[in-house]
């Protein structure tokens, strides 16, 4: 055993917490190492000095003071992540989009045409854009990506529902992550 290993185990040794094998190794090391013997004496002295430390009593009106301050605060309510609400908002958003499309309030063909026109102004032919888009299956990918996004959002919300109160506590300085 070298000095750093001995130093790390000396306090445990003094408290009788070291394993029998460690006890043997530590004692063998202490026999030949004045530095660690000195540390052991220091640790023994520290133990005595720590035992002599006196704690303090809270001030007599401690609880009264806290309760008076607390009386002025709103009664705390359990903070829960509204997973169902979150999903409801997403579903409502999609329903609105579909409804507006069905009612021809949003005309996707016009919208795409407008985008294509903008690209045309920039020097890219609209037909080329549509061709490239179709060949690369962009609409299918876009629809797939939206579906996946929804699933990830839902799964994330469910998975994090235990941690979000903790996260908000951490932000408020009341909780370690």
């Amino acid at each position: 055993m070298n000095c750093s290993a001995c130093e790390a185990r000396l306090a445990a040794y003094l408290e009788g917490d070291a394993s029998p094998r460690d006890v043997q190794l530590i004692e063998a090391h202490l026999n030949g190492c004045p530095s660690c013997r000195a540390l052991m004496q220091d640790l023994h002295a520290v133990e005595i000095r720590l035992e002599g430390l006196r704690g303090i009593e809270p001030r007599p009106d401690f609880t009264l003071g806290v309760m008076a301050a607390v009386a002025a605060l709103p009664v705390p309510k359990p903070a829960r992540l509204r997973v169902r609400w979150l999903l409801a908002y997403v579903a409502a958003g999609w329903a609105l989009l579909i409804a507006l499309t069905a009612a021809h309030v949003i005309n996707w063909q016009h919208a795409f045409a407008a985008v294509a026109t903008e690209f045309g102004k920039a020097g890219v032919a609209g037909s080329t854009l549509v061709d490239v888009g179709t060949r690369l299956h962009v609409p299918a990918y876009a629809a797939g990506a939206l579906g996946i996004e929804l699933l990830v959002l839902a799964a994330g919300a469910v998975a994090l529902r235990h941690y979000l109160p903790r996260l908000s506590g951490w932000i408020a300085g009341t909780q370690a992550i």
């Binding site: 306090a11 408290e15 001030r59 003071g65 908000s168």
Partner: protein
């Protein structure tokens, strides 16, 4: 009644259920903070602030994730960190704790024989307390709970939210760190040790 039941009562609207929680934990929290801050007044103020913060954020406490005491000590730890951050920005020039005179730190007169002995005992407390401030935070926390509050290792583990083995390691290492700090304070004024956060350590003379 367990802590978690009292918390549930408060969340149902019975704020008076907070009083037994304060009564139950105030000594531990005050003494825990006393190991970190410079005066009994600061320790009391910060402890009260801890309970008030705990109350206002009680809705974020999740009994499935931690014990109430672990959560409460975490708030106290954060409060102490904020306080220490403010202290560091303020110039420190006093050796005695700001609002304490030596008389206030004097021990129980029934036990101490002479005024000289009382002064020596008060100085001894001061020396150990100052050295304790140089010990890394988690070790200091474990040592404070053990020696100011006389908590059992298992209670400390519950309060800190760590394993029993971890508490033993923290206390053993904390003592070694304190031994080095006290050894150094014999060679230099203790005021220096408060500013020297890193304990250089004993030189290894043999291998």
């Amino acid at each position: 009644m367990p802590d978690e039941t009292l918390v549930a009562l408060i969340l149902q609207g019975d704020s008076s259920a907070f009083a037994p929680l304060v009564e139950r934990h105030k000594r531990g929290i005050v003494n825990f903070l006393y190991g970190t801050v410079r005066s009994t007044e600061d320790a009391n103020d910060l402890a009260q602030e801890t309970f008030i913060r705990a109350y206002s954020h009680l809705g974020t406490f999740n009994p499935q994730l931690a014990k109430f005491s672990t959560w409460l000590y975490q708030i106290a730890r954060n409060a102490a960190r904020t306080h220490l951050g403010k202290e560091r920005r303020r110039p420190q020039h006093e050796e005695l704790y700001e609002d304490e005179t030596l008389e206030q730190r004097l021990p129980d007169t029934r036990r101490e024989a002479s005024p000289d002995a009382m002064i020596l005992a008060a100085e001894e407390q001061q020396t150990v307390r100052s050295a304790l401030l140089t010990v890394p935070e988690k070790m200091r926390m474990a040592l404070s709970l053990r020696y100011y509050r006389h908590m059992e290792y298992q209670e400390i583990a519950d309060s800190m939210g760590v394993s029993l083995g971890n508490v033993k390691t923290l206390i053993h290492r904390g003592k070694a760190s304190l031994a080095r700090a006290l050894g150094r304070s014999r060679r230099s004024p203790i005021g220096d040790s408060h500013q020297t956060q890193e304990v250089g350590g004993r030189e290894l003379l043999c291998l």
